[in-house]
Amino acid sequence: MNENQFDIRIENTSLYYGSASVFKQITHYFASKAVTSVIGPSGTGKSTLLRTFNRMNDRIEGFRATGDVWVGGQNIYEEDIDVYALRQSVGIVFQKPCVFPKSIYENVIFGIKRLQPERKKEFADLTEQALRKVSLWTEVKDRLNEPGLSLSQGQQQRLALARTLISKPDILLMDEPTSSLDPRSARAIEDLILSLKENHTIVLVTHNIGQAKRVSDETIFVCNGEICESGPAEKLLENPCCQETRDYLNQGR
């Protein structure tokens, strides 16, 4: 184990779709075992940045990253990277909860069933651990064989999180994880984020300034292909120094 496993560092990174650049020469060291929220206007590439860290953008034709992207101690856009192992150590949760039309149990073990079939005997224990981590265990322990789609939206999002956590990632990426949930379920996810940061580095894309205030330690504000401003969440959100950030934050008021 090395301490690097929780690291995300970008140095002079530029991201492109074809010839259009999304980010130009950005550099940032993300805080380890802490929550960093990424805020900024729509369409500025917050999700693109997030999906760079587990190379989810590889699927998109014309996507290109230059510069260094260090994740868990590896420069992940180098050629000899095992991108599949990378994605297991960097979990991601999407905006819309994705639950397969299978049982709750099958949903939780969806990845490890194929990736670590030799651990089959541990699956039941791992499932319980993962569901406990997302505070879903007591709600579903008696109906693990019922369809995952029978759960509420908020429960589905926690189920998706459990599916990611079961392979024990060090880094968690969250792409607006509460934007399709009701306020109560959203709070439950926020509480989870706070409990998970003890053992995970978390990067959270959010449009909800209140949420950024409640859960994040650091915040970066992205705009016009740059990181305009970064720093402790409280300071940045209460007292931003950059005009763009101020304009953005004032829109919501």
Binding site: N54, M56, R59, E61, Y84, A85, L86, R87, Q88, G91, I92, F94, K96, C98, F100, P101, F110, G111, K113, R114, L115, L149, Q153, A160, R163, T164, S167, S180
Partner: protein, 282 residues
């Protein structure tokens, strides 16, 4: 004429054309079933043909048609699934994507008699299988490949993107993702493709007439080099005996059975297709 009147006339004209299109099918169904009805009986479908088909039933013809249908889909389905998966999951270059689409469309538009002759040259002559049910099944497999391929590809391409993304994000390799995400969630498309392919194979006559079938004296083939009798060719030959009323009635009877089989499959495909949207959208 006012604008509203024009609009009314226009919609009426379109409605009339639609009605006309539907009446074609109604006419065919009526013509075939009303004439085939008199020949139809349990004996007709359970006994073999005698007197060159003018008497007796169509047992081996039904068997031959079903054998060709199911043998051809068995050969075709793995190829259709494999090509559809390769095209959607591995083939990156848009040039080859387009080229492959044109290739499939050309194969789809190939006159079946040409496909039959070329297939016979290759399977029958070059590989030495001769006039046999296997030659016919291989030709039909090539013929229905575009149909099955298109249905499967459509199912894969309309797979919810978040399923694919979740599979990728968990660290599944492409082959694992195909087995865990793509195939289980396109199963209805695969079934639809198979049923549509079967229906096409069941109706085909030209491609198998000289390559896979014999008119009389055949029962259940004992080896892969023997021909079979089929409903399609049976109908064709009997229909030429316009002077013998029993033969004609048997031709209509055989046509009714063939239509019944094909219809059943198409209805099956439709009902499966309507279940494609089974996932509740949020």
């Amino acid at each position: 004429m006012t604008r509203i009147q024009k609009e009314k006339l226009f919609s009426k004209a379109l409605g009339f054309l639609t009605l006309f299109a539907c009446s074609i099918l109604a006419f065919i169904l009526f013509a075939v079933f009303s004439r085939g009805f008199s020949a139809f009986s349990w004996e007709f479908i359970s006994s073999e043909a005698t007197d060159f088909g003018a008497q007796g039933g169509i047992l081996y013809q039904i068997f031959g048609t079903l054998l060709l249908m199911f043998a051809s889909i068995t050969i075709c389905l793995p190829i259709a699934l494999g090509t559809a998966l390769y095209q959607s999951e591995y083939l990156k270059s848009s040039f080859f994507q387009k080229a492959f689409k044109i290739f499939m469309a050309s194969l789809n538009g190939m006159p079946t008699i040409v496909l039959g002759l070329a297939g016979y040259l290759f399977f029958g002559k070059f590989l030495g299988i001769g006039v046999s049910w296997l030659t016919g099944a291989l030709i039909l497999a090539a013929m229905i490949l575009p149909t099955a391929h298109a249905a499967i590809l459509e199912a894969i391409e309309t797979l919810p993107e978040h399923y694919q993304e979740t599979g990728i994000s968990l660290g599944l390799k492409p082959n694992q993702r195909i087995l865990a995400v793509v195939i289980p969630h396109s199963v209805y498309g695969i079934v639809t493709g198979a049923l549509l392919g079967l229906a096409r194979a069941g109706g085909e006559t030209a491609a198998i007439m000289f390559t896979a079938t014999a008119f009389s004296g055949v029962s259940i083939p004992q080896s892969i080099t023997e021909p079979v009798a089929t409903l399609q060719t049976h109908i064709l030959i009997l229909a030429q005996e316009a002077t013998n009323p029993t033969a004609l009635a048997n031709a209509w009877g055989a046509a009714s059975v063939l239509l019944g089989i094909v219809f059943f499959l198409i209805l099956g495909a439709k009902s499966v297709r309507s279940r494609l949207s089974w996932e509740p959208e949020q």
